[in-house]
Symmetry: D3
Subunit: 237 residues, 6 copies
């Protein structure tokens, strides 16, 4: 059974991770999962979180350029608020990255990941998490160079991918065409030890069976292993 | 290994589902999972969704009374916006209920589930989903009685529970004390066929292994089977 | 001439004042005037008002659950602001309670009364004031127990009732049916010395004569005397 | 016992009502109660209220120029919302004027009274009501002239004044100095038949006795009779 | 070729600058350019800007009363935000005045110019700047008298006028009729040395040639010289 | 006298105009003026403006990615409103493009230019206008291809550049370093006939003389002629 894109069920789209994409940010990464392109910048500010003394913080904000999508969406800044979807995504990105950072080792600095979607074709939040990790590592390196921190507060690697059931078939890394027409989908965030950081599966149409869930998790594990490699290659480059 | 509440690992808190709690709503349910109390009302309005012709809609709104919690939280109406957390929860409740409703059979009516937490002790969103299902069924019965619809648009039962790993032990239905101190937790929404509608697992502290995930899903399945029974008993009462 | 409810002109609806309704708040009262039910919680925070040094503060917030009413109202948190009516009511509640409290004896603490209407059938603001007084007294007792204050900052008792002219007849404690069909109505707040704290009379349809105003004030005085008793009984219970 | 201004207890400040103060509005009145100056414009728009078919509407908006007061207040437009006080006042003005207008005779037009305080010295809301009545009459005359309406939808005259207890003495028409230092105050709105449209009495400090309330109402009746005359004179001018 | 008002191409409307228009503000000026009337108050607050230590600040806010115009505009406070036009204008006024003030000589005080349009007939922003200068000088004098400052922080005079091409003819000081029907217009702000502080020319319909631009600047220079005189006369008065 | 960048006074930074930068928009251009990079997309929607029958519309929205700048700025969507600066800029872009479009020939379509700054180094608004023109032309070509319009509604070319006085020397196309340290600057928008569409000059520090203004306009004319050529080359490519 073939996918609209002709990919195999367990095949990722071409992944590209381009560092130093813009000049000013401590970390700046353009990540692409096929036609999905997200600019992830990591900004370091020397102030800790208001609610937690003697600690640093890692947080994220997400945005979609109005015409990143097939039809123009309304600009959230002009509407005066972020949608529920945007807030859900940026909270997810922030939590995912905090799962691999020792906040107490950040010298009371805040690192903000800004994930702005330049072009959308499904999977923007998983691309954002995967790219943000690389931007975060670059930002931490910049902090070290500047003498802000000593050790390495990043104690693991994190990447994310979507999986779903499209026309009865469990598939990896859904693009927009599949996403619009799938029965259920799941975003999975894992670390380099192969453990789960977030699992968010949703079925509006068709509730999924335990064995389907198991198969989706298998697919995700395989995909994330490749993304972990791609991150390493980018950071080594 | 004992839990703070003395419960077994796979033991729910006492569940109570009280119908007709307030007078005006077509469905009005006070659901309690132990000390967590949520008032779920279902309101029928004879207008369909703006974006979908010839269809009805089911949606949800969630709120927490300012002093439902240990310390007073700020009132969202006074602050001028709903938090990201609130929006995430109400979107989850809406999706969960739509998964068991045939929207085209709603005669272009909208059913709104208002879930207001009177007292919070962990698990408010899972209680809200579980109680909302019962309020929804009552509202649909009222629609039938009023001649608005003929068949039964509700084609399945839906309930939800939280699970998590507390001090190394996978446990069912976390209360506030466990929730504040757990390494990872997951909200699971299932239907009466034992299939998954939503799975939302989060690990900020400790990433969970595949076998832990499997054990958590087992616990959730067991708990939800009991909640499905409790809903039936309430509706039969 | 009989009222829709069959009550006498000077007859209150059944009043019930239930303390310790929820667990977390320092004071938590469910007050009912007939079918009107308001949950009043009093929360103590150890910070004084920004604009007044060496003083405590008493303030109130009011909300109506969306389906407390016959038809669903829009949730203020979702709309992004409190209505003019809501603000008027919560300002009234706050002023009324401050009239019986010595703010300088509050040890720079703030007590917030949250009045949330679970079910509405007319007179929600008067029920809220009457119930909030009892919640306030419980909160002050909790402060004393905790050693925050020494003397008793509450130097009087306060209660409120509505009166109005329904079909030509001055009546006490209007329910929703009367309220929707009355020519003018007045909310009266008094203390246990029988003096007036607030008088708010409004006539959109029919302006009222001085002798009608006098009769309405008489009715209110009688009703409030009974509420003062009900508060005492609840606090003694 | 003398008042800070040297006025007698039952003496109004000098009242001036200047019509056609600005050019564009159908009615435009600058009303002064002593140093309090409010510009009241009445604007006619040929659209009825959304919620009431075959009816016109009368509504009001109130604003205070930032430096109308002794110290500069924040501009509500810049803050992004109207205060609770502003909303209370503009609701009061609207209700007061609707009490003397037959809305069904307004040919589905809306008349908006904009009351903007140029200079404040106490009593801005009562001046606003008193001046708005005159602007309303001018706007109705303009509607007649333009052929929008035939009969006279205004069936009564309305004016307002404040009264209060200042240093133990009941006084009429409080200025800022008295207002800041009074034990309780009351705004009274009456029609030309001497009947009450609104009575809003507030005592934060000292609850008032029934006989004090009676005396305050007497003072208000006397003051309003003079304002009714002043309106007539202005309209005759 | 005659203008709708019968004025010559280089003729200003009658200018009037009335000081001490309201009582409370340190500077209070009613400025009129023909039928355009703007109330400019200058308020002194003893706090400097948050972002600049050891400095004072001069800022402006602009508002239009809803019925200052031919048809009623919506009140910005009620809409919950200032329009883009309002913000542009108040930023322009602030910048223009700061151009003639030595902020470091303001003793860390902030002077706020509130420019509220009572009646609009074109050129409200230029009238606002011209009037605000006079209010500013009065406020600075008040500061001196109060001992807040010693020297004179105002090192120049500033005034503004509009120019435009109406029906092919370059004209000075456009009124509403001309403004609605002009091909391009320009607001010019100058100091008493005849130098430019702001030049804002806009052509939506007809792009203007360099020689037209030159002619418009000539007209503006001539007009502003007269305004500078009018300001001096008012301050001498 | 040399500029920080080593450029001559009348020298532009390297200009690049890259079409079809993203896939979905009808026009999509990445424009660079040196290190300033702005993504300009043109989106066609088949709905005209609400306030103008039988007409199309051209409008613009502007945004800056939070870390486009040296230090991170706050995300406007998260703050809940667009700054005054943002609104000023997007209004300028919209007006500038409308100056070369025959709106009545747009078949009641709206073209929205979204200008999002990926990297900022001074001159973002002028780059946005220059790039938006090219995106607009591409969008109009797409409309023609789709049969939405027949003739060419674009009747001229438009480009923009900044000029200013830096350390006493009039210079063209200021970068961030010059912009932060200049005495006055001006944004100039012109068409391909060499006429002015917008002139916005501002002097906070040093008011500029007429001859300086003349010199700045000369510089701008020279720069814009080059930009007009660059646009032509891009569109021919």
């Amino acid at each position: 059974m073939s996918r609209p894109s002709g990919r195999n069920a367990d095949q990722l789209r071409p992944v590209s991770i381009q560092r130093k994409y813009t000049r000013h940010a401590e970390g700046s990464v353009l990540v692409a999962f096929g036609d999905t392109q997200v600019l992830c910048t990591a900004s370091v500010e020397e102030r800790g979180p208001a609610w937690k003394k003697d600690s640093g913080w890692v947080t994220a904000e997400y945005g979609m350029l109005p015409r990143a999508t097939h039809t123009r969406g309304r600009r959230e800044a002009a509407q005066g608020k972020q949608s529920g979807r945007t807030q859900e995504i940026q909270r997810l990105i922030g939590r995912s990255l905090r799962a691999v950072v020792d906040l107490s080792a950040l010298s009371c600095c805040t690192i903000t990941l800004d994930c702005d979607v330049l072009q959308a074709d499904g999977g923007t939040r998983t691309a954002a998490i995967t790219g943000s990790y690389v931007a975060l590592v670059d930002a931490v390196a910049a902090m070290k160079k500047k003498g802000l921190i000593k050790g390495n507060p990043v104690h693991g690697q994190v990447a994310a991918i979507s999986v779903g059931i499209h026309r009865g078939q469990p598939v990896l890394d859904l693009d927009y065409v599949e996403d619009s027409d799938c029965e259920c989908d799941m975003n999975v965030v894992m670390n380099d030890a192969g453990h789960f950081i977030e699992v968010q599966g949703t079925a509006e149409g068709h509730a999924f069976r335990r064995e389907e869930l198991d198969r989706l998790l298998d697919l995700a594990q395989g995909g994330i292993a490749q993304l972990i490699e791609a991150q390493r290659a980018a950071l080594a480059g």
